[in-house]
């Protein structure tokens, strides 16, 4: 007997009797004897809740989480409204499966519909799936979508200014999926995509299925993609953009740039950092690509009583129907985190999200100006426009700065070179926090 396994000795006897068996061993009579483990697992003894708590608290105490977080690189410390964890831990949402039975899953189906609406609005595109694991795998799916849509073409271009993590995962998928992935170089200082090089690559004999660029890019820079979509489309390729969901309230959207596909991370919608997950990835497309989109899509319809209701739709794209011909293998996704994003965007509304972008912009620009004023650090790519994240070159080594800052409870950014940090500011860092970081770097 265990607190999660309710069968008493009497229950077991009755169940075995119904099966015409005398012991539980008979249930495994068809397992070759040499395959039976025949010993307890070496994982320790059953614990009470107190013992489990003690175990985890001891682990927790071995962490030294910074109180102030200037690290970003896709994942940001944002305000997390108290209402969200409260709602998403309701077990009607938390303990449900994928909504295959729409009659008793309208709660899930309806929030997915709201989610799709909000993410499509953010990216400026027409269709959103629900959902992707996170940004790197979403970008890999975008690459495979380009190849699937192009049918015969197997070549995809990705800009060197896309984040390192995204390029690494896209390269992994390309290697095994059989996609010829070529990197579009950046201009000399690395700051933005070399558009001339891209034009040359598009004009080469080997036709291109898709082009992947980022906004903001790996250094937080907002690249000017004017004319890019036309150039890509003229080569009969698709344009995919990776982005950070929350930024899209302020910056030009993939839809406005003329992109066919938008993918990225939505952790920035107030999700806890949780040492890497669960986060949320998104994938949006133009309506023309709707029937090739990977993963779940919910649509509105009516029921027998004429009520407006929601169902999983266009399922002929998915693995459980199409098997090896499916557009993707994705099945379980980040379901509950899409509810998180939906509630977050409901609470912030358009204005709140804009204010959050504005706070990040002000803080980041103030921080960069103050760092440059110390003479100990300078913009790695001076003069480039950015929202709330930027790269700085520092006199002291990045390791030294990180070590000194951590001693004061500050994670000063992400090291992207021996003397280079990627620093992000959100609404969570106060003026005092910014001043402390400036002091640390000035004195390192």
């Amino acid at each position: 007997m265990h607190r999660y396994i309710p069968h008493t000795a009497d229950d077991r006897a009755r169940m075995l009797d119904r099966c015409g068996m005398k012991s539980e061993a008979e249930l495994y009579a068809d397992v070759p004897r040499e395959l039976l483990l025949g010993r307890p697992y070496d994982v320790g003894s059953e614990m009470s809740e107190k013992e489990v708590r003690d175990f985890f608290r001891a682990l927790d105490a071995e962490n030294r989480p910074p109180q102030v977080c200037f690290a970003g690189d896709g994942f940001y410390d944002h305000m997390a409204p108290a209402a969200i964890p409260y709602i998403i831990s309701r077990s009607e949402f938390l303990t449900a499966y994928t909504p295959y039975q729409p009659e008793i899953s309208q709660g899930t189906l309806q929030y997915i519909f709201e989610y799709q609406s909000m993410i499509a609005a953010l990216t400026g595109l027409e269709v959103s799936n629900a959902s992707m694991y996170e940004g790197t795998t979403a970008a890999a799916e975008a690459m495979m979508l380009c190849v699937a849509a192009a049918r015969k073409r197997r070549r995809v271009l990705i800009s060197a200014t896309v984040s390192e993590a995204v390029r690494a995962v896209v390269a992994t998928y390309a290697r095994y999926h059989g996609v010829e992935l070529d990197v579009i170089p950046a201009v000399a200082d690395g700051s933005v995509t070399d558009r001339d090089a891209l034009r040359t690559m598009l004009a080469e004999g080997n036709p291109v299925a898709g082009v992947i660029v980022a906004t903001p890019n790996r250094y937080g820079i907002l690249e000017d993609y004017t004319g890019l979509a036309d150039e890509v489309h003229a080569a009969k390729a698709l344009l995919a953009m990776t982005c950070i969901a929350g930024d899209l309230a302020a910056i030009r959207t993939p839809g406005e740039w003329g992109a066919d596909i938008a993918v990225g991370d939505a952790q920035s919608l107030g999700m806890p950092l949780n040492f890497g997950g669960p986060y949320l990835g998104f994938l949006c497309t133009s309506r023309a690509l709707m029937r090739k989109v990977p993963g779940r899509i919910v649509g509105a319809t009516t029921d027998a009583d004429g009520q407006r209701v929601f169902v999983l739709t266009l399922q002929a794209r998915e693995q459980h129907i199409r098997r090896e011909k499916a557009t993707s293998n994705i099945c379980s996704n980040q379901g509950l985190m899409s509810l998180y994003a939906t509630i977050y965007l409901s609470l912030t509304g358009p204005e709140g999200l804009r204010e959050i972008c504005e706070a990040g912009y002000k803080g980041a620009h103030r921080l960069l100006a103050a760092l440059e004023a110390t003479g100990k650090a300078r913009a790695a790519m001076p003069g480039k426009p950015f929202l709330n994240e930027f790269a700085v070159d520092t006199d002291a080594s990045a390791d030294t700065i990180i070590e000194r800052a951590l001693a004061e409870g500050i994670l000063p950014g992400v090291k992207i070179g021996p003397n280079r940090l990627l620093i992000a500011v959100t609404e969570m860092q106060t003026e005092a926090d910014i001043d402390r970081l400036v002091n640390i770097i000035a004195n390192s």
């Binding site: 071995e62 669960p278 993707s328 994705i330 509950l336 509810l339 409901s346 912030t348 951590l406």
Partner: protein, 490 residues
């Protein structure tokens, strides 16, 4: 769940000027995003709802009452292992020292988190009979894909680059062939015998120097243990290919037998099935991938290692298959699974497989006089009926599934596996009491009686769910997938 349907969208509760949060004051600055070049700024209005916090909370609370979860009632969904999700796991997944950690936090400041990861991967290795697990994959299908990449990286490292084919039983989960295709591998199906197990004679001619791997779940999707597995793994290994274990059906083996001991080289586990983490309406899951000794170097970057002094580090290597994520995966899901394993210990785990198996056989034996058994053998955690024995009434598996909803149960998995026309796949798990199981059996018998005596009741089901018979054809013909679409279509 509530029988009254709550049908508002959050957009329909919006009133211009309302807000549901207050953003912390920005630092003092005259600068603003207005100084960005116009070409880089968003112009399009942002269609998000404008609602206050009480309205948001009430809206989503009402929405939740349209839903059915494991905490609401019995969820006998075959191959999904919808077991109880312990509440202590939720508490352990939200400790402040864990949840505040940015993934770029240096290892020196995240020792507890790295230790949690390492501890769970070692426990899964013990349970799976493997050498090392990577917890980085985000879900079962992602684990399958990662595992197949491990296999390809292994063959590549041996210069064995012509192996481009995966053999998969015709009863396999849809993700198996789909993951193979994403991994760039061709799929060849091996037929099942009438008893649902792999036809070993049919397998022989499929093997050769072009085969990279064979993918199996054991027990298979009919819930039947593949007793000839030692012979199958030997044949596959003899041709130079590796064996992949789809962990979707691991639950009946917990405490009993290990895929590694059966000869599997690579496997994944669905923490959201076997290890009790909640499904969340479709995720987040977690799909750790384990490998036998000799394949560890191919696991995805980064790996968590324990140093000789007992500290933990992240390492990245060139031998790895590459990376499949930006981070160490769905970390807070991993914490829940660790909490579950600790709560059960070896004593509790030893009961998981046997009790899940006993419950499935008990249901099978209690209904076999009314429902047609696909395969008449001792099953493991799940089994498949091919609809009612008496098919003269016209009542189908879909009708039975919907009638179960009327009676307060979730439906079993239907029309899968594809081996039967009327598949009804039932998996009770070990956490349902005998009273619940008996109540389910009673309802299933009552549905069989209704089908014979008053079939309209079943044919017209569901009769008392909050919504009935949604028009899925219309949804697919004219897709309305956003609120903007609804506005445009009136």
């Amino acid at each position: 769940m509530n029988r009254t349907f709550y049908d508002k969208l959050i957009f329909e509760l919006s009133h211009k000027g309302r807000k549901g949060c207050r953003v912390p004051a920005a630092v003092a600055s005259d600068d603003s995003t207005a100084s960005l070049p116009a070409a880089l700024r968003r112009e399009k209005p942002l269609l998000l709802p404008e609602v206050d916090e009480p309205t948001v909370v009430r809206h989503y609370t009402n929405l939740s009452t349209n839903n059915f979860g494991v905490d609401t009632g019995f969820y006998p969904l075959g191959s999904c292992t919808m077991k109880y999700n312990p509440k202590i796991n939720e508490e352990m997944a939200s400790l402040p020292g864990m949840s505040a950690l940015h993934p770029a936090t240096p290892a020196s400041h995240a020792q507890g988190a790295l230790k949690a990861y390492w501890t769970l991967q070692s426990m899964l290795s013990e349970i799976g009979g493997m050498s090392e697990f990577s917890l980085n994959p985000f879900a079962g299908a992602h684990g399958e894909l990662t595992g197949l990449m491990v296999i390809r990286a292994y063959h590549d490292a041996n210069g064995d680059t012509a192996r481009d084919t995966v053999i998969i039983p015709d009863s396999a989960h849809g993700t198996n062939p789909a993951s193979s295709a994403v991994a760039g591998l061709k799929v060849v199906e091996v037929k099942s015998l009438p008893d649902g197990t792999v036809d070993v004679e049919a397998l022989k001619p499929l093997l050769g120097p072009h085969v990279a791997a064979m993918m199996m779940t054991n027990p298979n999707t009919l819930g039947i243990f593949e007793s000839r597995i030692p012979e199958i793994t030997r044949m596959v290994h003899d041709c130079g290919a590796l064996m992949y274990y789809d962990g979707a059906n691991l639950n009946p083996l917990v405490g009993v037998a290990r895929p590694g001991d059966m000869g599997f080289d690579v496997m994944h586990i669905n923490l959201h099935k076997t290890f009790s983490t909640p499904h969340g309406g479709g995720g987040p899951g977690s799909g750790p991938v384990g490998v036998r000794k000799g394949l560890e170097q191919f696991l995805p970057n980064p790996r968590v290692v324990r140093n000789d002094d007992g500290t933990f580090d992240l390492v990245t290597t060139d031998t790895a298959l590459g990376s499949v994520s930006a981070t160490l995966g769905n970390f807070a899901v991993q914490l829940r699974a660790l909490s579950y394993i600790l709560s059960l210990g070896h004593e509790g785990l030893a009961e998981v497989g046997p009790m899940a198996t006993l419950a499935a056989n008990y249901i099978k034996e209690s209904l076999r006089d009314k429902y047609l058994l696909g395969v008449d053998r001792v099953c493991k955690h799940e089994f498949v009926f091919d609809g009612l024995i008496d098919k003269s009434t016209g009542v189908t598996t879909l009708n039975i599934a919907k009638r179960l909803l009327d009676n307060g149960f979730h439906a079993p998995t239907i029309y899968f596996p594809l081996l039967f026309h009327e598949s009804l796949m039932i998996e009770p798990t070990e956490t349902e009491s005998l009273e619940t199981i008996d109540a389910f059996i009673d309802v299933m018998r009552e549905i069989a009686r209704e089908a014979a005596e008053e079939p309209e009741k079943v044919l017209n089901a569901p009769l008392n769910t909050p919504i009935r018979k949604p028009d899925e054809t219309a949804a697919a013909l004219n897709p309305k997938v956003t609120y903007q679409d609804l506005l445009a279509n009136g």
